[in-house]
């Protein structure tokens, strides 16, 4: 029986809902408390200058409603999110939907490039001794370089040869997302045991027959695990790609301009939007995974 088929009441009793609600409530409570703690100095400072005494209630109310708080309260972020998405025309430069779409398109392009590159590299590494010895160390080395350090260089170099816009961001996104795919696919393509490979040998199967009929299907569960990590990494890459360019659009640009002008609420709503996007992307990969495994006879 799937989870969705279980009525809500029995799910509550089965302890599936209450723990989630408790954790969410705790996070929100800590967030509000944090807002009081971090925003109180400014509120007290203001009150001191205006020479007014703040009661405890007034202090709390102030910390939750400042225009440029150190830490905005959850409802301020929600209000800003609402205002900049539903409350703004999609064509407007202020529409968060528009910014999210710009980042999302770079993410998807980077994810497609990264997954493709990762799968190709993994196939090469598994089938070719030289590639295994020569490429794998570089793949690992590539991830030890801080992406923030080379992102501006990628943008500048590509710009100088006339490439700008979506592609440079997609390439940075690819740089982050190909790695988990390579590692997962290499492991997956090598997962068939000796007996299964011997069996193919007794049938005199060629390398390509062994690849398509045994190695690739065996690698599918590994691939999806990697893709989930890869798609989240793609989003991070696309956002990082927007930071050093002085980009005018995208979630990264919103975060950067928010920090220039002290618009903390704007930073947070861009952050929350990025988190929602990431969760949706990972969930989508999960749906594709379940559908694929069902076609492959999963129980």
């Amino acid at each position: 029986m799937s989870d969705a088929a279980v009525p809500l009441r029995s799910r509550i009793w089965a302890g599936q809902v209450i723990p989630v609600v408790v954790v969410v409530a705790a996070i929100i409570a800590i967030w509000y408390a944090g807002a009081v703690w971090l925003n109180a100095p400014w509120a007290l400072d203001q009150a001191g200058r205006d020479e007014v005494e703040l009661s405890a209630t007034e202090l709390v109310a102030d910390t939750w409603s400042q225009e440029r708080p150190v830490l905005p309260a959850p409802h301020q972020v929600v209000q800003d999110l609402w205002k900049s998405t539903i409350g703004t025309r999609i064509t407007s430069k202020r529409s968060l939907f528009r910014h999210a779409w710009i980042t999302l398109s770079a993410t998807l392009a980077g994810f497609a490039l990264g997954s493709g590159l990762g799968i190709l590299l993994a196939v090469g590494i598994v089938h070719d001794r030289t590639m295994n010895a020569s490429v794998m160390p570089w793949v690992i080395a590539s991830q030890t370089i801080p992406i923030l350090a080379i992102a501006p260089m990628i943008i500048v170099v590509l710009n100088s040869i006339g490439i700008s816009g979506l592609l440079p961001k997609a390439i940075i996104s690819m740089y982050l997302s190909f790695f988990p795919v390579v590692v997962g696919m290499v492991k997956g393509l090598r997962s068939p045991n000796k007996m299964l490979l011997d069996q193919m040998h007794t049938w005199n199967a060629s390398r390509s027959q062994t690849f398509w009929r045994l190695r690739l299907p065996s690698a599918v569960p590994y691939l999806f695990t990697s893709l989930k990590i890869g798609v989240a990494a793609s989003l991070v890459g696309a956002i990082i790609g927007e930071l050093p360019t002085g980009a005018v659009a995208g979630l990264g640009a919103r975060m950067l301009s928010g920090s220039y002008y002290g618009q903390t609420v704007q930073i947070w709503s861009a952050l929350v939007m990025a988190a929602i996007l990431a969760a949706a992307l990972v969930a989508l990969v999960g749906v594709a995974e379940r559908a694929t495994l069902r076609v492959m006879g999963g129980r």
Binding site: M195, W203, R213, G297
Partner: protein, 261 residues
Amino acid sequence: MTPKPVIEARDLSLTFQTNDGPVHALSHVDLTINQGDFVSFIGPSGCGKTTFLRVMADLEQPTDGSITVNGMSPAEARKARAYGYVFQAAGLFQWRTIDKNIRLPLEIMGYSKSEQDARVARVLEMVELAGFENKYPWQLSGGMQQRASIARALGFDADILLMDEPFGALDEIVRDKLNEQLLELWSRTGKTIGFVTHSIPEAVYLSTRIVVMSPRPGRVTDVIESTLPKERPLHIRESADFLEIAARVRVGLRAGTLEDV
């Protein structure tokens, strides 16, 4: 009519180089298997019985001596699809139905679609799995999975069937049933069967010849011709002939191991 030799091993040796020094898996083995024989290899672990079978199948390379399968080298015989090999585990692909699993070697060997259909239907019938073609392996019991694995090895008409402890992981009741079915299949098809086991009753019940092997170095210590008739109901295992052969196998096994101690 003199029986036609199918597998001939002459002075066959195989030494594995390991970190603990050389391991003599096979040492100076001479054996001829004739067409239509059911030959069992029995012995304690490390006696080289599986290695011997793997050499026949071109899965291991001998370091000395010679071996021919159907008059060819094992590699040529493998490419000519001279044998079907059944492993200890069923080795079915979890993402393929039983039908698709049995079809797998046929696809690899390039049989036409209609030829595949006919062969799959025929071997499913042979192992009594008709009606299960659309099930996935995990939906079948262990015994049924092993039967599917045997069906898969039968699909491409190899004259030789090499079986490496195919029923080792199954319980005794299922094993009895499968032994009976295997004998029936053997007498119907006239295939030559090489069968590795560590069960004395299984070896005696199934075989026309029993090859007793002993370890360190792996070698043949006795070859026993069975006096049992070709027709073998399960209760033949209580007959005097059966018990006598079993006793001889046991003596051979003990002799091989005692020398060692």
